[in-house]
């Protein structure tokens, strides 16, 4: 008999001692059709996944805990839809005093009784004691750092699955400690002896569960602050995980961010394995920033034949290549639109720039690739995230830069540099085209104006129009209705620029403001947006001659550093 459960407070060991197999539900995908037919698009995505998973079948019963609003409603919906099955919800107290323990013990007893009634399974205190003592011997200590060198990350926040942990490792972490509700955070009090009766042993178990390190759903969470201290003493950085439409954890993130000076990166997922590409970039950049690379580009002395390197930025809209010589002179560059095939586009951009520099592929000693497509470039010697590359490139162009605002086609990001040009912090907008190049592109189409003409057109604006919708889809219909109201195109465009600017400022303010500023990416060419941003921050924003090339330039500089490092060795 297989029972699905979700929460660490579920009395799993007790059920196992009654020979009931318990499996934690880890949905791998969400059927939005099912979720919307039975609930609403705005419930937590993990819950939508569980709903999908349970409907798929394979469980004889489900045990939930009244964890949160989404789970409470999941219970109601499952109870209604799966009439033949045992759908059970434990009423877990939020406090951990003696009375709470007694309450939870009663809840567990009721659960046991239900299993007896439903399936004829009996509970035996001595079996349980025997089972749990062997289990405890085998368990060992989880979440204890192994003490080896390298980058150690803690993952905190909303539940994470094993694939997210693997992803952190893929992104460069050497060790990952899981402090979410899927990590092992139980601490058992010493077992009562074998003669303990049913009531005693269930109370002991209820107490051990309820007094383990609390999740954010609990009312008394002071112990999480102690946990945080431990974590900070033991790891290099914290990856703070939140799940879409789960709010418990953003409060703690906000607290840590404002009160602890410790490297922290917030990521949001839907619990399943979507959006890996973007995540790995962000986590990779975070790990890179923890390693704190050496930034000084030492210009090598002249040799007989100059070393030549290349940087290639494979973005979602364009593929850019920069060729540098060892004195950091740009020999050539090229920008081609990224077509259906990343590799073809990369080949095209690379051969174009070689031709312009008048060299052959053999002349290039090292190539660093960056951007979304970086892992797919077959001829690159090394891959580095675009965050690090943008940092390098911008710092190289102007060493006063402390903040880079990059608005690309699909995403926007803000990167903070220290005096030495190291990336010390950054934020990216998550999976939403609001405030990106794509947003302006859609609006340009709706307004029937070429994208590159928008900045110029906005100068003719006379009236202030406020575009309130943040989401691209809604903003588009807002623009269409403004056209219908006969509003001037220039005014609408100015309104759009302001909307992109305020979204960007929102992102910037998550890091705090610090000049000098540089803007990179295609949107930097739009004077209207740049001015709107300048106005809001009351500071000048530097725009490089080729704002789209900064990533590729940074990659080329990194390539040069690689060569230099090899020579030193």
């Amino acid at each position: 008999m297989i029972i699905g459960y979700i929460c660490k407070y579920t009395p799993v060991k007790l059920l196992e001692s009654m020979s009931i197999e318990c499996v934690r539900i880890e949905p791998s995908y969400i059927d939005n059709g099912i979720a919307e037919a039975h609930m609403h698009p705005n419930v937590c995505t993990y819950v939508k996944g569980v709903l999908t998973e349970v409907f798929k079948g394979g469980y004889d019963g489900i045990i939930l805990v009244n964890c949160c609003d989404s789970v409470r409603r999941l219970y109601d919906v499952l109870k209604n839809a799966e009439k033949g099955k045992m759908i059970y919800m434990l009423d877990l107290p939020r406090k951990s005093g003696d009375q709470s323990v007694a309450m939870y013990a009663s809840e567990i007893k009721k659960l046991v009784q239900t299993f007896t009634d439903f399936y004829g399974k009996k509970f035996n205190a001595q079996d349980f004691i025997r089972y749990i003592s062997t289990e405890q011997e085998n368990a060992g200590q989880f979440n204890m750092p192994k003490g080896n060198d390298g980058i150690r990350l803690a993952i905190m926040g909303a539940r994470c699955n094993s694939s997210l942990i693997d992803l952190l490792k893929k992104a460069g972490a050497d060790e990952v400690l899981n402090y979410t509700c899927t990590g092992n955070l139980l601490n058992f009090k010493p077992l009562p002896d074998f003669s303990a009766g049913e009531q005693d042993i269930i109370e002991w178990y209820a107490g051990s569960l309820i007094r383990s390190i609390p999740c954010m759903r609990m009312a008394d969470i002071d112990r999480r602050r102690d946990m945080l201290k431990d974590i900070m003493a033991n790891v290099n950085g914290i990856v703070y995980h939140t799940i879409k439409f789960c709010e418990f954890y953003s409060y703690e993130y906000s607290y840590i961010k404002d009160n602890c000076r410790f490297p922290i990166l917030k990521i949001e997922t839907d619990f399943t394995q979507g959006s890996e590409g973007q995540l790995i970039t962000r986590i990779g950049a975070f790990v890179e920033s923890l390693k704190g690379s050496n930034n000084k580009v030492e210009r090598p002395s002249h040799g007989t034949r100059k070393t030549i390197v290349a940087g290639i930025d494979s973005g979602s809209l364009s593929t850019d290549v920069v060729i540098l010589d060892e004195d950091c002179n740009i020999l050539s560059y090229s920008i081609v639109p990224t077509g259906a095939s990343i590799v073809d586009s990369a080949n095209k951009a690379f051969s174009q720039s070689l031709k312009r520099a008048g060299i052959t592929p053999q002349d290039v000693s090292f190539i660093v690739s960056t951007g979304y497509g970086r892992i797919n470039i077959p001829f690159a010697n090394k891959q580095v995230t675009e965050i690090t590359c943008h940092g390098k490139g911008a710092y190289f162009l102007n060493s006063n830069i402390r903040t880079i605002i990059d608005i690309g086609g699909q995403d926007s990001k803000v990167i903070r540099l220290d005096e030495d040009g190291n990336v010390v912090d950054f934020v990216m907008n998550d999976r939403c085209s609001a405030g990106t190049g794509r947003f302006l592109e859609v609006m340009a189409k709706a307004l029937e104006i070429p994208l590159e003409k928008m900045g110029e057109e906005a100068e003719k604006a006379t009236e202030d129009i406020n575009i309130t919708s943040i989401c691209t889809v809604f903003a588009e219909s807002e623009v269409i209705s403004l056209i219908a109201q006969n509003k001037k195109r220039a005014d609408i465009i100015k309104g759009l620029h302001n909307s992109v600017a305020s979204k960007t400022i929102g992102l910037l303010d998550r890091l705090g403001r610090k000049g000098a500023y540089m803007m990179t990416g295609g949107v930097a060419k739009n004077r209207g947006v740049v001015e709107a941003i300048e106005q809001r921050i009351g500071d000048k924003v530097h725009i490089p001659a080729e704002p789209q090339m900064v990533g590729a330039l940074g990659a080329a500089i990194l390539a040069l550093q690689e060569i230099k490092a090899k020579h030193v060795k």
Partner: protein, 418 residues
């Protein structure tokens, strides 16, 4: 309209000067209060004019008498505060007033920029923003219950850490049992001790009993009102419906609330028979959307009979055992426990009021209500009662899409008209 916009512009310009904004808001509220004391809105019954006046008064008091105020959520047992002469400031009510002043966006954004999730209910985000910017004067205490939604404990704990102000979270179990009653009762007593320490005031149990006695009277009036609503009608506005929500919870058991219900039941006989299409509303109602105002405010053609949240507990309470009876009230509230309890209570009010249709408002970020909505729809479908779900946000205009609400609402009303 334009006056409010100018006002909103002033407020937004002064966000960095919270004292100034607070003054502006208090001034605005006082003006509104004076207005309702002097002039009558002739389109709604007298009692509702009184409701408007006390609604404003209730929000003003904690802003003015800040050192005697406590922050609460809608389902906090404020009877205890009234007995101790402490002024409650309710999250949901204050955020609604921010919307009234057209300045909720800056406060919602402020909360989001501090790292608070954008999918959190905007009533909470607006309040958090107002607290973090210092617009809200620091209270003496905070009380929240785990009932209804998750946001409560999280928001209050966050703010209590931020401001270093004592708070109490009341953990309300889902099921009614002797054990859960005493668990709750014990918490209430513990809370009163903390309140006494934090405010220096003493709890006088006789006063608490008086509050509950008044509450019983109010419940009786409410029952009469519901029975009259079966046939009668009176014009109202969405704003007044929201005021009712606040007096029925945060100000339950107070003298002004009792006055209002007495006035109301005295007026019942004079209300005309209804010939309108009558809609019962589930969950909170946003008061600003034009589409809703156009059809429901002062209308004789379409009426809102009330919100389910307003009729969530109408039992006689045992005032001799005040703590126990308050514990019981929380446990047996229609919104506590499984969703089926809510469905059942809506069905019983449907039997009493016989509405022509039901509208469920899906508040942005409110998972406890939207998550079960399809179950309610199913139950109503079985009874052949028309159902409409509207998505939107009562506390942040930017999540409201006028066109979308308008089309859906019109189509629904056309359906009812047939």
């Amino acid at each position: 309209m334009d006056l409010v916009d100018t006002y909103a512009r002033w407020i937004k310009k002064n966000v960095d000067d919270p004292e100034m904004v607070r003054k502006l808001i208090i001034l605005g509220l006082k003006a509104e209060h004076a207005y309702f004391s002097l002039f009558r809105d002739k389109q709604v019954p007298r009692s509702f004019n009184y409701l408007n006046k006390i609604g404003v008064e209730f929000i003003l008091n904690p802003l003015i008498y800040r050192d005697q105020s406590a922050w609460v959520n809608l389902f906090a047992p404020t009877e205890i505060l009234h007995a101790m002469d402490i002024y409650p400031l309710c999250i949901e009510a204050f955020s609604s007033f921010l919307v009234g002043f057209h300045c909720e966006d800056v406060y919602v954004d402020y909360a989001q920029r501090s790292g608070i999730s954008d999918t959190l209910c905007s009533y909470h985000k607006g309040f958090i923003g107002a607290a973090l910017t210092g617009l809200l004067p620091k209270p003496k205490f905070m009380i929240t219950s785990s009932m209804l939604c998750d946001a409560n404990i999280s928001t209050f704990r966050y703010l209590s850490w931020y401001h270093h102000i004592p708070m109490y979270s009341i953990d309300v179990p889902l099921e009614y049992s002797q054990q859960s009653i005493s668990y709750l009762e014990k918490q209430l007593r513990e809370m009163v001790k903390m309140l006494e320490e934090a405010t220096g005031k003493k709890m006088d149990e006789d006063k608490l009993k008086d509050v509950i006695k008044r509450e019983n009277k109010i419940h009786a009036h409410m029952n009469r009102y519901i029975d009259a609503l079966r046939y009668k009608c009176h014009p109202t506005t969405l704003t007044l419906e929201m005021y009712m929500l606040f007096i029925n919870h945060t100000f339950m058991g107070t003298q002004p609330t009792l006055n209002f219900y007495e006035m109301l039941t005295n007026e019942l006989d004079s209300f005309p028979h209804s010939r309108a299409k009558r809609v019962f509303w589930v969950h909170i109602v946003p008061f600003y959307p034009n589409a809703l105002k156009r059809y429901f405010n002062y209308s004789h053609r379409y009426e809102i009979l009330g919100l389910d949240l307003n009729f969530d507990y109408l039992e006689e309470m045992d005032y001799e055992n005040p703590y126990r009876t308050l514990a019981r009230k929380m446990l047996l509230n229609n919104n506590n426990g499984p969703y089926q309890r809510k469905v059942d209570s809506i069905m019983s009010i449907v039997d009493r009021l016989q509405p022509d249709g039901i509208i469920h408002f899906c508040q942005w970020g409110c998972k406890q209500s939207v998550g079960g909505m399809m179950l309610l729809k199913k139950a109503l479908d079985e009874r052949g009662i028309p159902f409409l779900a509207l998505d939107g946000d009562g506390a942040d205009r930017r999540n409201h899409h006028e066109g979308q609400i308008n089309t859906r609402l019109e189509a629904f009303l056309e359906m009812l008209d047939k």
